[in-house]
């Protein structure tokens, strides 16, 4: 009989990036890389676990923006173009490395992986990976949860409850459309919670969410079991807290698994290592060197000199790390069980893109972990939050504390010198959107244009609200793109706002926006009223 439970949560998210107005667009690679390196490898892990009779449980968010992109025919086409190029390049690499056995083996591995991506994406799931995840949900192995519509950081939106409500309502609607039933749980963007948010969650049928550890620990009244049991908000929505110990084993720069020297190095990429003329055809239009996804070296150590990657050794290490993780969870559960009068639940949330994209061997680690949990022990049982709540419906009532999982635990990542200027505009646009929704009724329209403009205004507002833009401005990766996106969407919103009020809609302008920012076609602007 188990002594405790383990809930692995994967948060899969990318902001909506789709630029049909360009022949190719660098930032679309975010999605393509995540598909090849994370989503497809995870799907393959799930498939192999099912095939081998391993009874696993994973809780995974698919954010509405990610679902919108994964189900978009235009981006599906572009992914196929992207993977076809990589297959071609990997074939050349297999030839080129013929006299270097270590690299040759890796080139063949990549060729096989890319071909597998094409097969899984195109043949097996018909271009729509959401179907793959849904399959595992329907089997009861995967609990797919939703997220706010465009990953808006909700604590900084609290000012305008209608804007928060729209983020949740549109997410729930989008979830049901693609997954065939309403969502039961939510991953709050950046784990950002503020007291009172649960009211809006409840209105949309959400039964549970997650907070960072201090969100539960600093809850009030003081939660008896810390993060090792969920609490019910006063309205009955459950909050699960993140376990720090298991997080640290993966996230810590010093002790974390992904930093192991024999794992693949993320930064050494043939896009930078090889002769320019040779790789030029595989770079973007402007010819700037970028990562191409074929990486031949291991982390090696804190040195510039890198040794070739040895796949078999790295996979062996992933198995070792999975065993270590399981051992620690067993000890943790045993000990907690001895001092608690109920079975503890250990909640370990991670960015899904950690697995495969950043930590190349991450999917293998997950695979080994669930096999070991299934075959090698009885102390810890993988569980989803809903299963836990079904088995343990009685929980303490308390209100979590405002918190996020960002650096320092609150709002500072998204509210600091580089990005604080966005809120004046986002808040104003939210206020204007509510005003538009209240003042305009479909019955009064003389043509369909006004209705379309209202819906598109809501889309522009939502897209501007993605926390990713503020995050990128802060971390300094692709700042100009994030600034551009924020300004573009706010400007478009303001223009539509003016047109709707003046009852003069510029058809061409509207159609351009509809063609590009085509997220949530089912959206009804009245959600803001």
């Amino acid at each position: 009989m188990e002594k405790g439970y383990l809930t692995i949560v994967l948060h899969a998210h990318l902001p909506f990036v789709r630029h049909p107005e360009y022949n190719d667009f660098l930032e679309e690679d975010w999605l393509f890389e995540a598909i090849s390196e994370t989503y497809i490898p995870l799907i393959n892990v799930f498939d192999s676990l099912v095939a081998d009779g391993v009874d696993f449980r994973i809780t995974m968010s698919l954010t509405p923006t990610l679902i919108a992109m994964l189900t978009d025919p235009f981006l599906q086409e572009r992914y196929l173009r992207h993977i076809a190029r990589l297959i071609e390049l990997s074939e050349k690499e297999v030839d080129r490395t013929r006299w270097q056995p270590q690299f040759h083996e890796l080139a063949r591995m990549y060729r096989e992986r890319f071909n597998n991506c094409k097969y899984v994406f195109e043949t097996k799931y018909g271009g729509n990976l959401v179907r793959a995840f849904k399959k595992f949900q329907d089997m009861g192995k995967l609990e797919i949860i939703t997220c706010a519509a465009t990953h808006g950081f909700l604590p900084l939106m609290e000012l305008n409850p209608n804007a928060v409500r729209a983020q949740i309502a549109i997410a729930a609607q989008n979830y049901e459309k693609h997954l065939g039933r309403p969502p039961r749980g939510i991953w709050l963007p950046e784990c950002g919670y503020y007291p009172g948010l649960e009211e809006i969650l409840k209105q949309h049928g959400i039964k549970f969410f997650f907070t960072d550890s201090h969100g539960i620990l600093y809850g009030s009244p003081r939660p008896k079991y810390g993060v090792f049991a969920p609490i019910y908000c006063p309205n009955g929505v459950a909050a699960f807290g993140r376990d720090l110990e298991s997080s640290k084993q993966v996230w810590s720069a010093q002790e974390g698994y992904p930093g192991d020297y024999c794992y693949r190095d993320f930064y050494r990429d043939i896009g930078f290592d090889l002769d320019y003329d040779y790789i030029r055809p595989y770079l973007h239009g402007d010819g700037t060197r970028t990562n191409l996804g074929m990486k031949y070296y291991q982390i090696t150590g804190p040195t510039e000199h890198k040794e070739p990657y040895i796949r078999a050794r790295a996979v062996g290490k992933a198995a070792e790390h999975a065993g270590n993780f399981m051992f620690n969870r067993e000890k943790q559960a045993e000990y907690l069980f001895s001092i608690m009068d109920r079975k503890p639940i250990i909640v370990s949330p991670y960015d899904a893109e950690l697995f495969g994209h950043w930590w190349f061997e991450g999917p293998e680690w997950l695979d080994f972990l669930f096999r070991k949990l299934h075959f090698d022990q009885n102390n810890v049982r993988p569980i989803t939050p809903m299963e836990y709540l079904d088995e343990h419906p009685k929980n303490q009532k308390a209100t979590p504390s405002l918190s996020s999982w960002g650096y320092k635990g609150y709002a500072e990542v998204w509210l600091e010198g580089s990005n604080d200027w966005v809120y004046r505009h986002l808040h104003k646009a939210s206020q204007r959107m509510v005003e538009l929704a209240r003042n305009n009724n479909p019955g009064n329209f003389t043509d369909g244009l006004a209705l379309r403009a209202l819906n598109q205004a809501a889309r522009e507002l939502l897209l501007a609200q993605s926390s990713d833009w503020a995050f990128i401005m802060k971390t300094g990766t692709m700042v100009q793109y994030a600034v551009k996106r924020t300004k573009d969407h706010v400007n478009s919103f303001n223009a539509l706002y003016g047109m709707i009020n003046d009852k003069k809609i510029d058809r061409k302008f509207l159609e351009d926006l509809e063609g590009r920012d085509n997220i949530f076609p089912e959206l009804d602007y009245k959600v803001y009223a």
Binding site: T97, P258, D351, A398, W405
Partner: protein
């Protein structure tokens, strides 16, 4: 913009300011050049350098009932791996792109408005705007005292009360410069509620409210004192569970977590829980390159031509010909001797030609 105030900013801050104002600055421009560009730019400014400099959260705490900041801003560079992973989603290896920036957003919206947001248990952030007209009217009603009255923020502690403008637990004022601006306010008081008024303050201390903010509550930064009787567990047990919540190692390694708990019920990792740690090794963005370096590789290109329908193989492996019968292959060339047996066989398999170049690479490094 005053040059003197720009001079006070660091080069990086100036670049940020330029970005913020939508003014393009030549890549690699030095401080003086950026200042020149900024001064000559006619672009409507989102914020003046004055407010920009003062808005930095590192500005000294101004609160009367505010203790010194609880966490050092100097600790900023430390990042969590978690953040690096999130960053890596957006990392393509390419240098930042240059975009034609879209039109500037409105400088203000013609409202009389002040908004308050919570940043963390100790800091809130406020932005505001008030129209010139409203400002003039209010100055007028103050008469003579209105002439040298200045803009100020009044921060009220309104914890657990229905604020009527007078019944606050205490308040203090912060002088500001712009009628459209923003400010980080160090309240230094976790678990309290605040409202901020934007107003005009006369030299003799009279305060006239121009706009009032929403109320916010800063989060607690320690465990709650409120214990649910029904669910109460002995404190010692809670402390052990709490310590475990902060990590098993914290408990087994030493009882430091318990000590810290006793000292105020704070998590053993500073404010937040994410795994902290310097990322010097792992982050791409702060990666230090050596000052000088030299990499050299060799590749060998083998190319040729034959009848388009012939079969060609190199080292026993068939290769594909272009429609015109030509072919090109390239190989990474390691040290040592390569014997490259190439053969072409006619489509009717009657004729075969062999050409076998031998290539040797030997490398000296000095």
């Amino acid at each position: 913009m005053k040059k003197s105030s720009l001079e006070k900013l660091e080069e990086k801050e100036l670049q940020e300011l330029a970005l913020k104002l939508g003014i393009s600055v030549r890549k690699g421009a030095k401080k003086q050049e950026i200042i020149k560009t900024l001064q000559s730019a006619k672009a409507a400014s989102l914020s003046t350098p004055e407010s920009y400099a003062q808005n930095k959260p590192s500005a000294p705490g101004t609160g009367r009932f505010a203790p010194a900041p609880q966490h050092s801003e100097a600790a900023q560079p430390a990042q969590s791996v978690q953040q690096a992973v999130e960053e890596s989603k957006f990392y393509t290896g390419a240098p930042p792109e240059e975009f034609r920036l879209p039109a500037e957003l409105p400088h203000h919206y013609g409202d009389e408005r002040i908004v308050l947001l919570v940043r963390d248990p100790h800091w809130t952030y406020s932005y505001w705007e008030v129209s010139q007209r409203k400002l003039e009217i209010e100055r007028g009603t103050l008469g003579k005292a209105g002439e040298d009255a200045y803009l100020a923020l009044r921060v009220y502690d309104v914890t657990d009360i229905r604020f009527n403008g007078k019944n606050d637990h205490g308040h203090y004022d912060i002088g500001i410069y712009d009628r459209v601006g923003n400010w980080y306010i160090n309240t230094g008081m976790p678990g309290r509620s605040f409202i901020v008024d934007l107003g005009l303050k006369t030299q003799d201390g009279k305060f006239v409210t121009l706009a009032r903010s929403n109320a916010v509550r800063t989060p607690r930064d320690s465990v709650s004192d409120i214990l649910d009787e029904e669910w109460m567990v002995p404190d010692s047990d809670f402390e052990r569970i709490f310590a475990l919540s902060g990590g098993l190692s914290a408990l087994t390694g030493a009882s430091s977590a318990d000590i810290r708990l006793a000292a105020g019920g704070k998590l053993p990792f500073g404010i937040a829980s994410p795994g902290m740690g310097s990322l010097a090794l792992m982050s791409p963005f702060k990666k230090k390159q050596r000052a000088f370096w030299f990499v050299l590789n060799t590749e060998l290109i083998v190319y040729g031509a034959t009848e388009p329908d012939a079969k060609v193989s190199i080292q026993g492996r068939p290769i594909e010909l272009r429609p015109d019968g030509t072919f090109t292959l390239r190989f990474a060339l390691p040290d040592g001797k390569q014997i490259i047996e190439c053969s072409a066989t006619s489509a009717d398999e009657v004729e075969t030609r062999r050409i076998t170049p031998e290539v040797t690479r030997s490398t000296r490094i000095s």
